[in-house]
Symmetry: C3
Subunit: 182 residues, 3 copies
């Protein structure tokens, strides 16, 4: 507690570089926690791109919140339904263009910054999306942005309790200038 | 064994979300194993892009199998030869267009999901390829897809025993709709 | 020492595959060290893209060296100034084109290979940059290349003591054919 007070006063006095320095603190279990969160982040992407509603929803806590282009969705069942809706919407576009095979939209994650505090964690990461035009399979960059995540360890497993998606190709989902990390 | 039977029955009864949940299990050495596998994945890419046949082949077990655009290649010596062939093929194209310097094709890996079971591991990851057009160095996205990997720990070192490359820009190497992860 | 001599002689005799094999050695703390370095790499990117000079400079040692398009910059204060200059230069272009909101240039890191030797580390990684054209927010790939990093652990924290940026879209910053990894 004393240490925290000192850190706060120090950062007011000396500025944001010190604040950043004090904010970064790795407990002895950092590698374990981070590894499992990285694995969660990867599995989330497979579930998203293969549009597997159950696995996708299983990366969230039961009361997990997802903030994305479709709005804010709360709770396991609502998240399952949201992925089913995404899939149905894609099918309409794909079927209308009668391709040989559907497009293969893929989402990639990099730059994972994670801060662990016991059974809570705060994550920041970048994402981007590639897609293809179906007929000649030409690949293109569709969009990019970042994630702001809150995580909880429930029954020994890290899960998203809140994921907010920022997307630089949509004005209403773009990041602000406020520094999102530490 | 009993645990496995239970997991299978459970997943039949309750569905794929439960199956995903039971499939994700992190042993105490997960962070160590994952870290070394991530490093292997990175070194593989450097070896591929700088077309270093020996380092590339050294990321596989002696009986390692590579399934890629060129077909299925098995064993250390055959993999070394395959990289030499890739390099020679590139040189023909590059020399024909007499550039200032050769293109710089680069392969990137993200979304690494890894499941460890003792000295065996199963990996899934995404990859993509950037290249440049040599004359004005304009960069472009060339292709993307995913990896399905089997790994073995041999003499304390994680190596690919089988890597299959899926490529969404080639119809005969594209992923299926079957969920590849867990 | 004897082991090192043996490795050197062995690699001269048998070639680069053996050298690569002997060069890859993971100490018991590899996962911890690597996790913290990955986190540093991610935080560096947030600081770069949100153009936060203090956090950016805090990822380097006090005598840290940055080799980039702007030249070679040494020391904490000089690095802070460099980021401020980058930001000012961007503003000139952005203000001249009077957009609704500034472009959102983002840098991504993948393929992190790290070799730890006590409180020193050597890193290699790939990077790429996406940007948008401001008016209709169309995203594009701007550039790609790789990093060659030296790191030091100072007061229990991993920092860059030297980062050199290679950029394949600039002839004077492009990689050579010499193998940069191990």
């Amino acid at each position: 507690m004393q240490k925290f007070v000192l850190a706060v006063f120090g950062s007011i006095a000396i500025g944001s570089a010190v604040m950043a320095a004090t904010a970064v603190n790795y407990a002895r279990t950092y590698a374990e926690d981070r590894s499992e969160i990285e694995d969660l982040q990867a599995r989330y992407m497979f579930a998203l791109d293969w549009q597997n509603p159950d696995v996708y929803a299983s990366t969230f806590t039961d009361d997990g919140v997802l903030v994305w282009a479709g709005g804010e969705v709360a709770g396991h069942d609502a998240i399952v339904e949201e992925v089913k809706t995404m899939k149905a919407m894609d099918r309409v576009i794909i079927d209308a263009s009668t391709p040989q095979r559907p497009w293969r939209r893929r989402h990639f994650i990099t730059n994972i910054a994670v801060r662990i505090d016991g059974d809570r964690a705060t994550g920041r990461a970048y994402w981007f999306e590639f897609n293809d035009d179906m007929r000649d399979r030409r690949p293109y960059l569709g969009a990019y942005g970042h994630y702001e995540d809150e995580l909880r360890k429930v029954n020994g497993r890290w899960l998203f309790s809140r994921r907010q998606i920022f997307n630089e190709q949509r004005d209403n989902m773009a990041a602000t200038d406020e520094y999102p990390a530490w």
